[in-house]
């Protein structure tokens, strides 16, 4: 169906404006850009998880063919450059701030993970840079490494940073300890569960890349890079690293091939490229190969948790207590401290009325790659814990899994949880009912029996999830330790011919903002979408913005656009009133036409736009020429997307292979602008969740700290034949805190799906738990170790 047939209004599945360039090979990703006299960078990386650097000899490498320059940590330090920062400070229970070790751009005297940056070689070609790097002689004194998370806090464990004894960065807590203890003391039943949330490696298909340039004439730097938030990158590179003053640094994130969190962060390579461009006086290009991406992109998840749920005799939840050890890797990445704390502990109430919650999280350094936000960021870990222990409680009490959820759902709003969040709207039973219907829950016993006849094991698993998106009210995150505010900006520029440019601080790297945002603007102004251009990703064009992550671009980014459009309408009505000689209160703006109420006087949008710029006869004291308005929108609350996912699996007990028979997702995202794009977001999220549950695992050798899963031959990315088609549905409660009523949809699939899958597998096998990823080997082993009675 063409867009002409379906219309372009809000709620229509408008086909994407950005697609033409991508399907014809005309996208502009960072690595596609080439500059005259461009050089190539290659980073020599540590082959050891932990070592002292006794010396680096670059002499013979410097004379290798094509070499332009070689930089080490000493050059960076001599130039006075600061290290990379963590933008969120978390404090421990005793009030002390987190213990932060330095994070140099190039290692100075110690390397702390395999892949840590030791030297940067700049050469005429990538092959020459790579060859020269092999000639650099680094004198390492290898040291024992702290790798296995469970052992890293022992007093004998090797230390990652001297600043953090026992590798403990923080010991954080949230909730009410004494109320929780009291509730446990009077509980009729306590359900306990130990859980591992497996380490994941994000793997956006476009590897990270950078093109650093320096203009000697003006003293300005330009960095093209694969960023989800170019303004934040510029701020960090200016204010903290000190590459260049903010007004002398332009950061451009052109087409970006997926992010999933991994491109939020400010990394060493991009920083080094823009810094060194001035040193060598030529542009420097760097593009990660996939092996480097595995080693050096920030990883995700990696928690060990113990959870206990207290219930009364009717299956009502009384309290939840949780102890989690979260892996931070070797250095704090840009937002890593916030992920296992404020993005995790605050969601532990799930969809349930739990009167008392207490959570402790130890953030722990290990000799592994930094761990930071990956699709969902803290919220998948919380949802996994809540939905796994709720399912376990259902099985231990003998209450039906749907029924135990119903008994505990929050049913009145606003609802203040014991862990900061104030849920504003939702209808959890509606999504559960819709999902059960779509999953043909009633027919499951018959399907299970039929599968049994074929020697197969069927299981059904629920996940009633909630997440907090629309990150976030600046005052709220500021009080919790964020170094930034999480508002968003927009500017609407109306041209004299009536077409419109909308500048947004959000950044699209697959989400389709150029379409969705244009849909909003076009329908508001009553003009065709083709007359609306969405501009993003360039700090010289967009004044400032916070970027795209945490499912924030709809709820926050589009709210900023609405605010700017409100101002446009206000001014345009003023102009219309003047031109049509009417009172401004009498001007109505509808379908692209200004009308004087109760008369036949009208003025089309394009004519008004032109008049705004000719400005003939404007009363200059009252109306300025031009039509351009900007806005900053700061949300007043988080948004709370929620829903229910149900997964049905069939397991072959001979091979341990799990097949997903049906995957149902019913989500409440509030208002949806473009259902086609929203469904696509859910599909992708579910696929990453299925990846976590069944396939993906970032594994380091516990002794050597070598990354064992460092390529697509070892790290199991979901392929098309690993996945089913998905069965989606929506319910709707409008978000009361933003003008469009939107909640956000980018992460729900990855947040909700893992527990649904593991609940289904444990249901099929009649076991308490199975570690993710539930590979055929693990499932087969679980089947073999089941008590005989259960197996038969």
């Amino acid at each position: 169906m063409s867009n002409a047939a379906i219309g372009e209004g809000i709620g229509q599945p408008v086909r994407r404006k950005e697609d033409f360039r991508f399907i014809t090979g005309n996208g502009h990703y960072t690595d596609d850009i080439a500059r005259p006299r461009q050089t190539w960078a290659y980073f020599l990386r540590s082959p050891h998880a932990h070592a002292k650097i006794r010396g680096i000899d670059t002499k013979s490498a410097e004379t290798a063919p094509g070499v332009v320059a070689i930089f080490t940590g000493k050059h960076v330090a001599d130039d006075g450059l600061g290290g990379l920062i963590c933008g969120w400070t978390v404090s421990s229970k005793d009030g002390t701030p987190m213990k932060v070790g330095p994070h140099p751009i190039l290692a100075v005297d110690t390397v702390r993970y395999v892949g840590d940056h030791v030297a940067m070689v700049v050469a005429e070609t990538l092959a020459e840079a790579r060859s020269a790097a092999e000639m650099i002689d680094v004198d390492y004194e290898t040291l024992p490494a702290a790798v296995a998370l469970a052992a890293c806090q022992s007093k004998d464990a090797p230390q990652v940073h001297p600043e953090a004894p026992r590798n403990t960065c923080f010991e954080w807590e949230l909730g009410n300890k004494s109320e929780t203890e009291a509730a446990f003391a009077k509980a009729d039943r306590i359900v306990k569960l130990d859980l591992t949330n497996n380490r994941l490696i994000p793997n956006a298909m476009e590897p990270r890349a950078a093109l650093g340039e320096y203009d000697k004439g003006t003293g300005t730097y330009t960095l093209h890079t694969t960023s989800q938030n170019p303004h934040v990158a510029r701020l960090v590179l200016s204010a903290f690293v000190g590459v260049a003053p903010e007004h002398k640094l332009r950061v451009i994130a052109p087409d970006v091939g997926g992010g999933f969190g991994s491109k939020i962060f400010i990394y060493a390579e991009e920083t080094a490229c823009v810094w060194a461009a001035a040193k060598v006086g030529r542009p420097i290009k760097w593009t990660a190969d996939r092996s480097e991406a595995f080693l050096s992109d920030a990883h995700g998840r990696d928690h060990l948790s113990h959870a206990e749920l207290a219930l009364d005799k009717n299956g009502k939840f009384l309290a939840l207590r949780v102890k989690t050890v979260a892996n931070l890797g070797a250095y704090l990445s840009t937002f890593s401290a916030s992920v296992p704390t404020y993005l995790y502990g605050t969601l532990l109430s799930g969809q349930y009325d739990i009167p008392a919650i207490y959570v402790e999280v130890d953030g722990v350094y290990t000799h592994t790659a930094p761990v930071d936000a990956y699709r969902g960021a803290g919220r998948p870990e919380a949802t996994y814990l809540v939905e796994r222990i709720v399912e376990t409680a259902a099985r231990e009490t003998g209450i039906d899994p749907a029924e135990i959820r119903r008994r505990n759902f929050i049913r009145s709003f606003p609802h203040q949880t014991p862990v900061i969040m104030a849920y504003d709207a939702g209808d959890y039973e509606a999504s559960l009912d819709a999902a059960m219907k779509a999953a043909d829950h009633k027919g499951f016993p018959a399907r299970k029996a039929e599968a049994e006849k074929r020697g197969k094991l069927r299981g059904l698993g629920f996940s009633s999830y909630i997440e907090a998106c629309g990150l976030a009210p600046s005052a709220a995150v500021g009080s919790l330790g964020a170094g930034v505010g999480l508002w968003e900006s927009a500017e609407v520029r109306v041209n004299p011919t009536g077409n419109v440019e909308v500048l947004t601080g959000s950044h699209s790297h697959g989400q389709g903002h150029e379409t969705t945002f244009a849909q909003l603007v076009a329908s508001r102004l009553g003009i065709p979408m083709e007359q609306v251009e969405i501009v993003h990703g360039d700090t010289d064009k967009v004044q400032f913005g916070m970027g795209t992550y945490g499912s924030r671009s709809g709820a926050v980014g589009m709210s900023a656009i609405v605010k700017a459009l409100d101002k446009i309408e206000t001014k345009a009505k003023k102009i219309a009133a003047h031109l049509m000689e009417a009172a401004v209160e009498d001007i109505v703006f509808e379908n692209g036409t200004f009308t004087v109420q109760g008369t036949d006087k009208t003025m089309p949008w394009a004519q008004l736009a032109l008049s705004a710029y000719t400005a003939h006869g404007f009363p200059s004291a009252e109306i300025e020429p031009g039509l351009k308005e900007g806005a900053f929108y700061d949300p007043t609350n988080f948004t709370f997307p929620a829903g229910c996912h149900i997964c049905e699996v069939e397991i072959d007990p001979d091979t341990g292979v799990t097949r997903i028979i049906n995957f149902v997702a019913v989500d409440d995202f509030g208002t949806i602008i473009n259902p086609m794009i929203v469904e696509g977001q859910v599909h992708g999220g579910i696929a990453q969740g299925i990846g976590q549950a069944l396939l993906e695992h970032g594994v380091y050798d516990p002794e050597s700290g070598q990354l064992i899963t460092g390529s697509y031959m070892d790290y199991c990315m979901p392929r098309a034949d690993d996945l089913p088609s998905f069965n989606l549905g929506f319910t709707k409660t409008v978000c009361p805190s933003n003008p469009l009523g939107m909640k956000g949809c980018g992460e729900a699939g990855a947040i909700a799906s893992p527990p649904a899958i593991i609940n289904a597998i444990t249901d099929a096998l009649g076991i308490r738990d199975i570690e993710m990823p539930a590979t055929p080997a693990r499932v087969w082993a679980a089947i073999q170790s089941r008590p005989r009675a259960a197996a038969e």
Binding site: R15, G25, Y29, D255, G257, G512, E679, G680, S711, S725
Partner: protein, 154 residues
């Protein structure tokens, strides 16, 4: 350095290349056709798929000199006379792409797949996409797009 000559998107192309140059790097860097992407270094992801003499080939898995004399078609050469190929149309119509990075390889693979197996079903499409990784779409809409295109082209 050896000279390599081939036809790319219907036009003759020849250049001096280092013997170790992969076809994908020749296409991207020497011919400036950056629609073909590099997403991995182990020939798994399929972002670099082009057609060599009408067959889908991972251009990171052959040397430029091995394509001597071959007819190469990249994603830039798929549309004819300004008219999108039905597979390109179907990817847009069915939202078979998000970030667009795997898309050129997916489309080139799909065109070859439909040529080889005109009567496709979902299972076959999913199995045949084994060599193309997408991180955004969960494949749902890619599969839908390929099935729709194969119907359209029947």
């Amino acid at each position: 350095m050896p000279v390599v000559a081939m036809t790319v998107n219907g036009k003759p192309a020849s250049a001096d290349v280092e013997a170790r140059t992969l076809l994908v790097h020749y296409i991207r860097e020497q011919l400036g056709l950056t629609g073909t992407h590099v997403g991995c270094d182990t020939s798994q992801c399929g972002a670099c798929v082009v057609h060599v003499d009408g067959r889908a080939v991972k251009s990171c898995a052959i040397l430029a000199v091995q394509a001597e004399g071959a007819e190469i078609v990249t994603v830039e050469g798929l549309a004819k006379n300004g008219e999108l190929h039905p597979v390109q149309q179907a990817f847009r119509e069915h939202h078979g792409l998000q970030c667009g990075f795997c898309t050129p390889g997916m489309i080139m693979t799909a065109v070859d797949l439909i040529r080889r197996k005109p009567n496709l079903d979902e299972k076959t499409v999913r199995e045949e996409l084994e060599g193309n990784i997408c991180r955004c779409t969960g494949y749902h809409n890619i599969v839908k797009a390929i099935l729709a295109a194969s119907q359209e082209m029947r």
